[in-house]
């Protein structure tokens, strides 16, 4: 994991007890991790009592970047500690950071895993069975027919999830083919998961 000079400078500010007293440090840290789940937490920053807004902004940006970068690389406590020590944070503050980081790591990582481009993800399926008797083009059909609707979810540009569906019809033979293919996929998945 590589940390840029700006981030290191920002974190060093947090190590300075004259700039960030203990309670202010805690308040900032809480806000940083709250931000993962509520985007609007940022506005609460204004209520943090600190000497200069510029310093606050720099420190805040540095901690957010550092926390997410650590989650991105799945960094262990040892390497995080060594970086924070280099920035002259005392052991209390480091353990404070680590507690919050450990607590939120999984959530941050699932957040990160959603960033990127993915195909629509199938989450459910609906089906209806019909017995087709006749149509405008054909009398005496008398065959079953199915309408399958695959429910999908995809992530929009702004990170919101969009639901959609893919609908198609199939005959009994086509459905048998479809289910056969899917069963094949499930079987080979089971084989792989059992390490065979």
């Amino acid at each position: 994991m590589q940390v840029s000079k700006e981030v290191l400078e920002g974190i060093s500010l947090l190590g300075d007890v004259t700039v960030f007293q203990d309670d202010v440090f805690k308040q900032l840290l809480d806000l940083v991790f709250e931000e993962v789940f509520t985007p609007l937490a940022c506005s609460k920053l204004l209520s943090v009592p600190v000497v200069s807004p510029m310093v606050l902004k720099k420190a805040h940006a540095a901690v957010v970047t550092f926390a997410f970068d650590a989650a991105k690389w799945n960094a262990d406590n040892l390497s995080i500690t060594s970086i924070l020590e280099d920035c002259k944070l005392d052991s209390d503050r480091i353990s404070n950071f680590l507690t919050l980081y450990d607590k939120n790591k999984t959530k941050m990582q699932s957040h990160l895993s959603n960033v990127g481009s993915y195909r629509p993800h199938i989450v459910d399926v609906d089906w209806t069975e019909h017995y087709v008797i006749k149509s405008s083009n054909l009398e005496r059909i008398s065959l079953p027919s199915y309408i399958i609707s695959l429910k999908t979810e995809s992530l929009g540009q702004d990170g919101s999830s969009n639901s959609d569906s893919t609908q198609f019809v199939c005959t009994l033979e086509q459905l048998q083919d479809l289910v056969g293919q899917l069963k094949d996929a499930v079987k080979s998945l089971e084989r792989i998961s059992q390490g065979q």
């Binding site: 991105k72 799945n74 990127g116 069975e129 079953p144």
Partner: protein, 199 residues
Amino acid sequence: MFLILDEEHKHHLNFFTTVEPQVAKEFCRISLEFLQNGSNAKVYQNVAQKLGSNLETVKHAVEGLMRVLSEACKLNLSEMELQDSLSILDLQEEIKQEIVRWYVDHTVELRSALSSLNMNLLQYSSLEWRFDVQIASRCLRQQVTPLIILKLDLCKDGKKQPVVLQTDPCNLVHLTETLEEALTEVKSQHTRRMMRNIK
């Protein structure tokens, strides 16, 4: 069940009372081609020239025959039923048999063509799948995310439309189980009773 031919249609088909069986056979072939690929003005012209007859007459004869074949398919007439329907026309026995034989030989093909006109919905054609494990992305390294990529080939008006979707193992199992239920439903008492009673 019988094929009901209106007067104009009969008039068009009367052309076949004047030709040789060999010619009728050729017309059956042309009609089938018409049903498969659409009409071809050049073919009409060639045939009309060869027979020394009117272009309109040839066109009407082919279209009339085509209509007989497609209507018979639509009603799913049996061999006997078609023969009886045609007996109203004063056709030579050989020509009648020729038309019936063409019908019997191509019923399955024609019915599947007609059933594909059926609905404007996408029709399932085939499925391909691939099992992937995502091990890293720009935003998250060191992951092990199993993904199943599904490529569905769907057909509409004879054109293939591929749709690529993905899913995870849990949802794949759920999808498979749910569709299996749909498949077993066809063997259920309710479905079987419906199929038996509604003809």
